[in-house]
Symmetry: C2
Subunit: 493 residues, 2 copies
């Protein structure tokens, strides 16, 4: 009937459709697996973040405790040193301006340090500048210890609970989204199944229509054949004598007429059947075409809109909540950084105020009784000796004058010598100053890592002690220092 | 001779001088003690600084190791998760765009992280934004670990050696300065001893002078007495007869004359003695007065100049060297801070780029085969059915038209409903968005310590979970979320 090369067989069409639906079903399953996997990865990530911050909180707490121990150890020591210092002075021949109350205040220092706002300025002024640096260094360690405790606390009591919440929210949303997705997939499969069924109906009705059509065509052919037979017989009978076979012909004519009628009736019946089936087939095809449009629209909606919405639902608030949790972390870190920086600023300020002259002043004031010049030696007249002035009259006058001239000549020689020595000493001192104030303290290089961790250590170690220039500089410093002292000793201090 | 109330006795003067010198001597001893004590305190401070930085280097190294362990632990885990992810996908029905080479690259991540400069941007683009944040978080921990190792190294190999040097230099300078100081003190004591000796000489010579003077005066008195006696005897002899006692008178006269001569001779001798002693006394007093001036000048020079110079010598380079050591510390801390801040900036950038839409896009591209829409369902003509369009002629026309009208009416109803639902959903979504994007991440308060350490913990703990507002917000969030899903489900997704 139809060429197999031209039209697909029903079986082929069904098989193709089955393959297409199977692929979609597999895709839908993979989509669910993908959502599951994303959920799993998200939960895992949030769990990792919690574990990470829990562990980091421990590390920060450890660090904080170690820093506190370090600070306390030296603060206790500083206090006992001050105590000793006080005792040492009080047992000596002179009384000291540092009262026991001052010492007590100094020993209260660790307590005072924990509130840097109330850092006693009065203390600062009584303390030598290197000791001030040292106190601020310990203060900084205390501050960092406290800040890292705060950091640890924020990790545990703010950031981790946020991740717990995000995890809960994500799980709940994934579950709900999956339910919704399952429903959507079920709906889509229902549409695909409907398409299958209307396609089969179309196939069936179309087959019926084709079959009715072919039956109709057969009837039409039979009719044509019957009509053709009658005409031939009449043609054949025409040359014969009309009387000899008249009765036979009438009978034959009668049979033929009833046969044609039968065929006509059958044709009518088949025509009606074909018309009916043809209409059914058209309706079925229309249903199939409509279902096809609807299915393609559903598939498009599912793939283009629903899947995207589904992922949106899974993500609902996830990025925003994660953002807030991580911003909390950033806020904590930046506050820690700021606090640390304030402390470093205070130390830098103290380092800038390292000053030998004011320390000398402070020391001499602190030990005023040790350093204050004694009373002038006064002339003690013997037995009411009334003359308290140098007697420069004869006969001692000439001798005194001679002595004065000798002294003046010696003095002018000394002055010239002194100028020379002073210049040498000043130059020597400047050399020492230059050596000890060379700006060799920038360690930025150490924080520029070139390739790997391995190279870091060697770079840092080289920076200070092992450089030949340092050894040379130190030798130079000591030599110059030695020269300086020799000059001072030679020419009187 | 002299009133004891008016003039100090020699003994008193000597005692006073002794007291004054004793006090100076004690002060000199105290000064040396004070220098010793300053040296001791300085050495102690430098020792403390060394111990402090040695201990802090340990703490920093500990911290660094803990951070590295933390990073490695999660980086290893991240790698194995990625591996799993790859396996999961490759065993599924669809092939995946992630090649084994990509997975290998992902597993090389820990190595890549140690050189953030070469942080692979290509990877970044393939990674979901929360995972990118997570990677940078681990990256930051690695960076901090490395920086704290560097810090520890700088403490040990740069800062501590500096303090060792400063300590050596201080010790040497104190020793030399003390030697010089001892010499200066010896010189000063020599001057004081000289003053004592010239004062005693003055006393002696003045006493001699006074004694000579009194002896002279005695002689003068004797002479006067002798002269007075002669005059009286002559007066007494005048009323008597001249002859009876003439011999006796001549003899007496002779005796008196020799006696007067004797007295005159003695007086002359005493006069010479006195003049000699007087000159000696004047010279001695002059020497004493000159020594007094010299002593006072020496004492002044020692107390005002030498002591100050001595302290300067002790301090030579001390403040400058300490300055450099502490600046090295500051440089290290500031570089660490900068490095940390750079890392935090990178994290902040990643947090800003937390984006659901681009992540969805990325996910769908990553799993392209799972999410790409299938081929359109095409019309499959049955047995060469030529009509592939909807047949809308009679007799199906009227039926189709009626159906179309019904659908249009249903559609317009749905459209109105849809608008309503859409508005409700958008409002609900906005409510959720408002809840999840509330800016509650600033923890500056936690770093503002009011009084003591005790109050810190409670403040921090309160900030997030225990606030009633948080619980209320969360309840609200879940309620809104539930409503959102209900609406979506009721009206088709």
């Amino acid at each position: 009937m139809t060429s197999p090369a031209k039209f697909k067989k029903d079986k082929e069409i069904i098989a193709e459709y089955d393959t297409q639906v199977k692929e979609i079903r597999a895709q839908l399953t993979e989509q669910m697996k993908c959502l599951d996997q994303q959920c799993e990865l998200r939960v895992q990530l949030l769990q990792d973040l919690q574990d990470f911050f829990r562990k980091k909180a421990e590390i920060e707490m450890d660090y904080s405790r170690n820093l506190e121990k370090l600070a306390e150890r030296f603060l206790a020591k500083t206090c006992s040193t001050k105590d000793q210092q006080f005792k040492f002075i009080s047992f000596s021949a002179f009384t000291v301006i540092m009262s026991p109350a001052d010492v007590q205040a100094a020993c209260d220092f660790p307590g005072l340090l924990s509130t840097p706002e109330s850092f006693p300025l009065r203390k600062d002024q009584n303390v030598l500048s290197p000791v001030n640096c040292w106190n601020l260094l310990l203060n900084q360690v205390k501050r960092e210890s406290r800040d890292h405790t705060t950091l640890s606390d924020i990790y545990l009591n703010n950031i981790i609970p946020r991740f717990v919440q995000v995890s809960e929210d994500s799980g709940r949303l994934f579950k709900k989204s999956k339910e919704v997705g399952q429903q959507l997939q079920d709906d889509l499969m229902k549409v695909l199944n409907e398409l299958y069924s209307v396609m089969k109906t179309y196939h069936m009705y179309n087959a019926d229509s084709i079959s009715a059509q072919s039956k109709l065509k057969e009837a039409e052919k039979q009719e044509e054949k019957q009509i053709g037979k009658s005409v031939k017989q009449e043609d054949r009978q025409t040359p014969r004598s009309p009387d000899s076979t008249a009765n036979v012909r009438i009978e034959e004519k009668h049979v033929r007429r009833s046969s044609v009628k039968k065929i006509e009736k059958m044709k009518e019946k088949r025509q009606a059947k074909y018309t009916e089936n043809k209409l059914k087939a058209i309706k079925a095809r229309n249903e199939y075409l409509l279902a096809l449009e609807a299915t393609n629209a559903s598939v498009f909606k599912y793939y283009i809109h629903d899947l995207s919405d589904l992922i949106d639902c899974c993500d609902l608030g996830y990025h925003a909540s994660l953002n807030r949790a991580l911003r909390t972390f950033l806020s904590a870190e930046l506050n820690l950084e700021q606090s640390k920086h304030e402390g470093l600023d205070a130390i830098e300020n103290a380092v800038e105020n390292l000053d030998a002259t004011s320390d000398k002043q402070r020391l001499m004031e602190m030990y005023n009784n040790v350093f204050c010049p004694p009373m002038k030696f006064e002339f003690q007249p013997h037995m009411g000796d009334m003359a308290s002035q140098l007697c420069a009259q004869q006969p001692v006058q000439s001798e005194l004058l001679q002595r004065c001239q000798q002294l003046q000549s010696r003095l002018s020689t000394l002055k010239i010598e002194n100028e020379e020595v002073k210049k040498t000493m000043e130059a020597t001192l400047q050399t020492i100053q230059d050596i000890v104030t060379v700006e060799d303290f920038d360690v930025s290089d150490c924080f520029q890592y070139s390739n790997s961790m391995e190279s870091v250590k060697s770079t840092v170690s080289e920076t200070f002690m092992s450089k030949p220039s340092i050894a040379k500089r130190r030798a130079n410093q000591q030599e110059t220092e030695q020269f300086y002292f020799t000059v001072r000793e030679c020419y009187g201090f």
